[in-house]
Structure formats: C-alpha cells, structure tokens
C-alpha cells in the first residue's frame, strides 16, 4: 500500500519534503521508520529523535498505517 510522507527541517537534508512510500499491509510507524533508515542510512540518528503524526495526530511507534495516510515526521522542536 502507498502512504504520503512529509518531512521538515533537518530531515530535508536526507529526504525530499514530500514523497510517496510503498509499505506492506499492516505496517506500523516503526516499520516505516526502519524502511526509511534502509533507504537513507544517514537519517537514522535523526529519525530516532523524531515524533510522528498520522493525518496530523501524534502517533506512537506501534500505530498501524492505512493506505493513503499522510505521515508527518517531526524532528525535535527548535522554535522560539
């Protein structure tokens, strides 16, 4: 199935800011994270520090993905 992924800030040094990703059925946020680490090993450390949101709601690593979901990957906040 296909999901939409959006990245921000320092993550854009590793990925484009918006892309589609194929993941297997019943994948979780954690599965997606592993896949992204395989695609871009240089992003691994940063991905471990990120928060994730499914359709703009914060989601735990065990949360399951559904086809068509939009996943925001949010690096540690640095506003202010």
């Amino acid at each position: 199935m296909e999901i939409n992924v959006r990245t921000y800030a320092a993550l854009k040094d590793h990925f484009t800011d918006s892309f589609r990703l194929n993941v297997s059925q019943d994948s979780t946020i954690d599965d997606m994270k592993k896949k992204l680490k395989q695609i871009k090993p240089s992003s691994a450390d940063l991905l471990e520090k990120c928060r994730f949101a499914i359709n703009q709601e914060f989601a735990a690593c065990a949360a399951r993905l559904t086809s068509g979901d939009t996943i925001d990957i949010l690096p540690p906040s640095s506003g202010g």
Binding site: Y8, A9, A10, Q56, S77, G79, G80
Partner: protein, 133 residues
C-alpha cells in the same frame, strides 16, 4: 486567534488587544533573532512549522496555562519564514490580576512552545553556511 504567521509580528498591536480591566499585570516576552550562536555570526533566521499542528499545539499550551493560572489574557504568536536580526520570532503576552501569575504563566507558555510545538529554526551564518537547529 492565529498563532502562526508569515507576517512581521508587531508587538504594540498584540499589547493593544491584551489590556484588561481586571488585570493589574501584563507580561510580554519577545523571543528575538540574535546575531550570534556558539560564537558564530548569524545573519538571519528562518522558521518552518507543521502549521496546522503547531496552531493546535500552541492553543493547547495556552489552554493548559489558563487552567493552571487565573489569567485574563494569554496570547502567543510565532513567526515562520525569514526573520531578520532583532525582529521578534515569537511573542507571548499574559495578563492577570497580579504579576506573579502573569510572569509564571508567560514563562510556562514559552518553555512549552519551544519544547513541544512543531516549529524549527534554521540559522544562516556570515560564512555562507546554514544549519537547521
């Protein structure tokens, strides 16, 4: 209220909306673009946000503060896009009957925004490099 803006923040305009007849204390925090980071000369800041989530995050933080302190006014605005040195990047205004709660709530709000709101800062340095913080 809009908490995320691409426009320059005019502090006077916010303060005009923050006067309250039952408030004897009004506290303003302005987080401003600084020209130095770790000894390196900074020429400009740029902020990015997940706008919808940052709006909700700041509204939730303000609600938390209103529940914790007897505030008459609690406002917060964070700018995104390019911010020149000395311009405000984030402004928090609190008003309460007395200064203690206005100060405490203001500090709570800015601390929570910095820690939780999905907003990020990029610094551009005088040597031509730039870095997301």
């Amino acid at each position: 209220m809009v908490h995320i803006t691409e426009k320059k923040i005019i502090i006077d305009e916010l303060v005009q909306k923050a006067h309250h007849p039952e408030a004897g204390a009004l506290v303003i925090f302005s987080g401003e673009a600084r020209n130095l980071h770790d000894g390196k000369s900074v020429t400009m800041l740029e902020y990015e946000a997940q706008v919808e989530m940052a709006e909700k995050s700041i509204e939730d933080i303000l609600e938390l503060a209103r529940n914790r302190w007897p505030l008459k006014i609690a406002m917060a605005v964070h700018r995104i896009g390019k911010v020149e040195i000395s311009e405000p990047a984030v402004v928090v205004v609190t008003a309460a009957a007395h200064r203690k709660e206005a100060y405490e709530a203001n500090q709570f709000i800015i601390d929570q925004i910095k820690e939780h709101a999905p907003i990020w800062k990029k610094e551009s340095f005088a040597d031509g490099n730039s870095k997301w913080q």
